[in-house]
Amino acid sequence: MQTLSKVVHADREDPVFEPGDRVQIDDRQPIGHYRVPTYMRGKPATVIAAIRPTMVDNEAESFGRNAGSRRHYYRVFVPMTELWSDYRGTDNDGLYIEIFETWLKRAEP
């Protein structure tokens, strides 16, 4: 679709990460309602897509806070063989998961 070039986007309207970007999922152990499974924490991943539209951070929302918390979720990919050292399958098998922007950092080059 042809888009108009003079529209200025507000902060956080555009995804921080793009398909193909290498990211690191945070390894945090906060108390409360968190949607990143422990087996994914601290893992390097590859961004497949930014999920649109932006969404409320449902981890903040679970504590009644959501003003200004809209950001993107990203569909990211980790090869199974990188998740599990004893994985019984093929090298192509992968785990795909949605991670909120607040849990992702750009991987060191």
């Binding site: 949607r35 990143v36 499974p37 087996y39 994914m40 999920i51 969404m55 449902n58 979720y73 569909r75 199974m80 998740l83 599990w84 994985y87 019984r88 399958g89 093929t90 192509n92 098998d93 992968g94 785990l95 795909y96 998961i97 949605e98 991670i99 909120f100």
Partner: protein, 201 residues
């Protein structure tokens, strides 16, 4: 209360307590709960099957479905009362998709209704991300080594529906007849090959 907890289990008692508190405070009414049950009961795998059959027979719809699952389902009148997004994952000769929610029981309820019990139990949730091939084999689904397995773990605002491959040799079926071939398990990904009705396995 102690006797109730023993009989019903702690979660049922907690659910009752929260529901009564919300009702007492006037935040929800009993009829709201009844109405929501009505919404849930109106959703079943037949909706997902209709979406799949439409995608098999209408290439433009299939493209819209893969680009934005929720919007394409909304075209057919399927509402997303839980405000989740839907990603539709296409099985191909090279790729097989499997859906799980390791944290709880996230499931594309707007298009499939309530999940089966095994989907909510820990053995399925743990093994789907750790040994999907062995798990699938126990469902009778053996994935060849030259087919890549993609396990999608739904954790938050996104739900997944699998678009199974259309069985070969059924070109003369109507969309309704095609929909009748599509099973819940195939849309979760524990089944790969759909069998035309009347065919001998």
């Amino acid at each position: 209360m102690a006797r109730d907890a023993e009989r019903d289990g702690i979660f049922e008692v907690m659910e009752t307590a929260v529901r009564e508190l919300l009702t007492d405070k006037g935040l929800i009414a009993a009829t709201d709960i009844r109405r929501q049950i009505e919404v849930l009961d109106s959703r079943s795998p037949a909706l997902g099957a209709a979406v799949v059959a439409r995608a098999w027979t209408d290439p433009a719809f299939k493209q819209r479905l893969l680009e934005n699952g929720r919007m394409a389902c909304e075209e057919l009148g399927i509402t997303f009362y839980d405000d989740t997004q839907l990603i539709v994952l296409e099985n191909t000769n090279e790729v097989h998709n499997l859906v799980v929610c390791t944290l709880c029981s996230c499931y594309p309820r707007p298009v499939l209704g309530l999940p089966p019990d095994w989907y909510k139990l820990k053995p399925y949730r743990a093994r789907a991300v750790y040994e999907p091939r062995q798990l699938l084999a126990e469902f009778g689904t053996v994935i060849p080594d030259d087919v890549e397995i993609r396990v999608s773990d739904s954790t938050a605002m996104v739900r997944f529906l699998i678009l199974p491959q259309r069985p070969a040799g059924i070109d003369d079926l109507t969309t309704d007849q095609l929909a009748a071939l599509v099973t819940r398990d195939a849309m979760i990904g524990v089944v790969r090959d759909l069998v035309p009705s009347g065919a001998v396995m």
